[in-house]
């Protein structure tokens, strides 16, 4: 089924992407094509099939609870777009 523009806008907002009107149209078209490809999955009945999240059939390993990290703030904030007094700065957060 073709992708609606309103749907594209909603998805773009969820993904925090800004799309121009042209990009939205392009996205609607290409996503419609991709969904056609994806929808081929529906040709197979999978009613009694367990979903497989990971091909790696194993269980989670546990880490010993110990502090292994030291303070490297200054080094890490050297590559930050904007930092001051040890804080990362962003446009005002409004709750």
């Amino acid at each position: 089924m073709p992708m609606e523009l309103a749907n594209v806008e909603n998805i773009a907002h969820l993904a925090r992407l800004h799309l121009s009107d042209e990009e939205k149209k392009e996205a609607a078209d290409s996503m419609s094509n991709i969904l056609k490809l994806i929808d081929q999955m529906q040709s197979v009945n999978t009613d009694n099939i367990e979903p497989l999240a990971h091909a790696f059939d194993n269980v989670q390993r546990l880490r010993y609870d110990a502090v292994t990290e030291t303070n490297t703030r200054d080094e890490l904030q050297k590559i930050a777009p904007e930092a001051e007094e040890g804080l990362f700065l962003v446009p005002k957060v409004i709750e």
């Binding site: 749907n7 925090r16 991709i34 099939i49 091909a55 446009p91 409004i94």
Partner: protein, 482 residues
Amino acid sequence: MIDSTLAEISRALENRDISSVEITKAYLDRIAQENADLNAFITVTEDLAMAQAEAADKKRSEGSAGAFTGIPIAHKDLFCTNGIRTSCGSKMLDNFIAPYNATVVERFNNAGAVTLGKTNMDEFAMGSSNETSFYGPVKNPWDRSLVPGGSSGGSAAAVAARLCAGATATDTGGSIRQPASFSGITGIKPTYGRVSRWGMVAFASSLDQAGTMTQSAEDAALMLNVMAGMDEKDSTCSTIDTEDYTASLDKPLEGLRIGLPVEHFSEGLSADMEECIRDAVGEYEKLGATVKDIQLPNSHLSVSAYYVIAPAEASANLSRYDGVRYGYRCDNPVDLEDMYKRTRSEGFGTEVKRRIMVGTYALSAGYYDAYYRKAQKIRRLIKNDFQSAFEEVDVIMGPTSPHTAFAIGSQNDDPVTMYLEDIYTIAVNLAGLPGISIPAGFINNLPVGLQIVGKDFAEAQLLNVAHKFQQATDWHKKAPQD
């Protein structure tokens, strides 16, 4: 010497026929000569390489060198390198210098390898032609109007054009095997969990796996010996012991059971490609293997399932690029929302945004069951197909790609056409299996790749099977003319 295989260079270094400084310099010269046109490297680390080469030679003179000491290699630009930019082929990370090494990089450094630089790639490893890179497309050394394949196109082209002895790469849906096939080299994607993903910029976490690009299977074995093995920092890394991947390279192939999936020899495969692959299989029969047809009945759904699972995981993996802590941030955001949206729209390229959109859609309320959950069920069916097949055969062979390398810019109109490039390789990632592509002939002077798929953690066997073929043929020795 730069035309030699990695194994030959290793022996030459050991015999002191050459020094690491000499071979490193030779590669750097060749990179300086060729890279401007090929665009295989995003970053060349000349100073680091020379320092590492000198250190390697010193180590050798002290008698503490190993098999990899002093060998010049390149890393795909998604393995984080301490102090050196790791761009992932994206504007988003154009200014990103990680203060840490990926486990793979760390292991090569510890083994004494020399890092020549970081290789070009499709942006965030999303692509099959290396055309989505922020740094421009890579050219195929066999014909510079063609793509080298992707996403590890830079690593493939660098090895094919002899700009390095070997290169690391990653494979999420075919990103090692397809460019290896297009570029006439050997590329192995190990079993999921064989090599640590720590420090490797993530595309799709349940599918990404690091591997190698080399001239030969023997070279790949030498690289895997360094890379593979348990890493406690990666929860999805296997604890199964590794082995010396060079040890069983020469094992005879008598009695090897080869399966040919009928689905990979059907419509969509050109006659000359099929002939080339069947000739290669014939070579195996001469080496004592038996061949039979097998079925992978759900393989036609692998691309569909993959284009749900991979974008879904990617949509979350790429949320961290928000302009807050590192990487690109848009100029003068008016508010938080504006910062997020413009940073991400300006920092990501079209294909990356497209996949984030598809993945976000597949996970969104009301679609999860129809898309994401359905894809996971298909994934189970695909894994089951392989399991049944491996009850009858030891390895599965077929073409790596439906055709040889295509022209730059020729397939950019419809993303789906590009997605279908990986039709033979994607199922292997969904099932987590190891796969290798080796040079198996030429069509119109362009290389053809034979894909060999093995059972879980059967890397040694795959390399053995590939190596015996390379002992009997010389396709892998062919090099492109400058």
